[in-house]
């Protein structure tokens, strides 16, 4: 137990800000996962690998002298087509099957992507430098990297854009209809096959944005996708399926919780405490559901 954070209260501000900025970025990845989980009932284990691939696109732009921030525009465009491609090749064969099959299939895609990226880009850890500098608050005692602020702002823009798109556009309505009842949507003339492909493409595009942001805030490595998959999975579980505002809140909440766990319990309990929280939330949910069932009886 470390009480440093209470002795230096300014650290509370630092921890909260770090957690929120981290959480928003993770929430964007979770957004994509929640969307396709809700629409297609597929848990995409390759989510993190799509993120990393998106990051490499920004990294290569950086290598060729283009500012990596442009990656947030280029990367999603390329990743959309990668997503549609994966759907046409693999996912369309497992989309109506049970959840276990889709987990196996996407797990396979994940392994394939890791190996291909390793083969194509090498096993070195790489990063892109944005050169954005730092925002200093409270006389330099709270520092916020501008690249992280940029990442959070872009994430929020894309998340809001997506919500509006889902509400207003024709495809958005078709996606929502398919999520509610695929069969009924089909009968009413929605081409569900196209909707599924677009959903997977949009998810991959969101991963592309997140990847480009990660290339300028953290590091990239072909095998580093899994933590992003697990994190977004957790955020979706905590938020509940189909609850898009919930995803944003649970993303930030977990981020802040994680930072505070680091200060108070120690860095070694950082990840563990997040998992503990997940277990507690699931147990609590079970109790709540059980009560509801009793009531219905």
């Amino acid at each position: 137990m470390d009480l440093l954070i209470f002795q230096a209260p300014i650290l509370i501000v630092q921890a909260s800000m770090d957690g929120i900025l981290l959480g928003i970025l993770f929430a964007l990845i979770a957004y994509g996962m929640a969307l396709q989980w809700g629409v297609m009932n597929i848990i995409n284990i390759a989510q993190g690998d799509l993120v990393i691939l998106g990051g490499y696109i920004a990294y290569f732009m950086y290598l060729y002298g283009i500012h990596p921030a442009w990656g947030v525009i280029v990367s999603p465009i390329i990743m959309y087509f990668v997503g549609v491609g994966i759907y046409k090749l693999v996912i369309n064969k497992v989309v109506d099957r049970d959840l276990f099959i889709s987990i196996l299939a996407t797990f396979g895609i994940s392994i394939l992507f890791m190996q291909l990226m390793n083969f194509a880009f090498g096993a070195d850890v790489v990063l892109a430098v944005s050169g954005y500098g730092t925002t200093m608050l409270f006389d330099n005692s709270v520092t916020l990297p501008n690249s992280k602020i940029f990442a959070a702002v872009i994430s929020i823009i894309f998340a809001i854009g997506l919500v509006i798109y889902m509400k207003k556009s024709k495809l958005g309505r078709a996606i929502r209809a398919t999520a509610q009842n695929a069969r009924a949507a089909k009968i009413l003339g929605v081409d569900t096959e196209k909707v599924y492909a677009a959903t997977f493409g949009i998810n991959a595009a969101l991963c592309g944005v997140a990847g480009a942001l990660i290339s300028i805030t953290f590091t990239l490595h072909p095998y580093m996708g899994l933590p992003y998959t697990i994190r977004s999975f957790m955020i979706v579980i905590v938020a509940g399926l189909g609850n898009l505002p919930g995803v944003a809140i649970s993303g930030m909440g977990l981020g802040v919780f994680e930072e505070f766990a680091d200060y108070i319990l120690g860095t070694e309990f950082r990840i563990g405490s997040v998992f503990l929280l997940l277990v507690l939330i699931l147990v609590y949910r079970r109790f709540k559901l059980a009560k509801k069932r009793e009531y219905l009886k």
Partner: protein, 413 residues
Amino acid sequence: MKKIYKFALVLLSTIGLILGTTSTSFSKVEGDTIILGAAVSLTGKYSSNGVHTQNGYNMAVDRINSMGGVKVGGKTYKFDIIYYDDESNPKRAAQLAERLISQDGVEFMLGPYSSGLTKAMAPVTEKYGVPMVEANGASRSLFTKGYKYLFAVLAPANLYLDVAIRTAVELNGGKPVNIAMAFEQDAFSQDVRLGIVDAAEDTGSKIVIDDKLPKELNDMAATLAKVKAIKPDVLVVSGHTKGALTAIRQIAEMQVDVPMLAMTHCDAAKLSKQHGKNAQYALCASQWHKTLTYKDKWFKDGMTYDKDFTEMFGYAPPYQAAESSAALLVFKDAFERANSFDQKKVRDALAATDMQTFYGNIKFAPGGQNVSKPMVLFQVICDSSGKCENKVVAPLKWASAKLIHPVPKWSER
């Protein structure tokens, strides 16, 4: 009936004898070639360093063969290596060790890349009594298990940053210092940590932050915020290339001022190439540096090795390549002193090794680790045009530049 039984027995033992003798005379030495076995990571997450390891081995094989080979029993032999790709996977590495020994009949082995994979292979080579000289497994636990056939040309992990703490104390006028540590939770980094804990105890220094970073580490902001608040004299970071890159990025972003920053894996992370001037003043532990003045007759010295390696492979050798080349020199020396291919005799000759190579002096402790080669620290130093170079600054005996201490504050850079 008895006759048939006897006949069968004779037949079987003859076959056994033939198989036995042919396989031993066939496997380790084919004609005038000594065949060594090695599993290295050519794919998977260690593939960059796996390739450095393989290049280091190949370079030494070429050099030794072209300079007359190995003389055993009045006859000259050449080296050859059977390689397998262990896919950076410990289980696969153990299987391949088994395969090299029992199917390919290899009787002498070279090590893989990384402590984890060496740990997986050592029990197998030990079981078959196959001497293994390894160059890329530094974890202390490799040398405390009582392995008799494992020899490492590199200094063990606990010594990696020991010299940084001692230098900091020295610069502090012999007075103890406050140390902040951030180490990844893996065998190697935790061994480096134990070394720091020992050095702190030895010098009476105090450990004020002791963070164990998760393996999926991508954010060190919390640790660095603590460093900012507590203001230690030294910050030590070890978390492979990812840790080194993350630390430099976030130290610069958060403008963390600390008088001394010491870390591992700067070489492999290509710190100054990826971070430019932000990496400046970082102290890095290294097994070898080209400017060290060790000499031998095969590679001459570090500078020549650097030049020849660059010519052959098109990139400057990281220390992982240099130490791998040294492993072959050790084998050659041991074969010649043993004057035999008997595994026990070669093992004993290896244990008695005491030689100088371009990479450093090599002498094995009973645990198998090399105790006669110190670690060096280099500092990333950039000129005004932004070009950065690694200069050896400690220990003083090998220093080619003066250590810049304390590190200038971010506001003054």
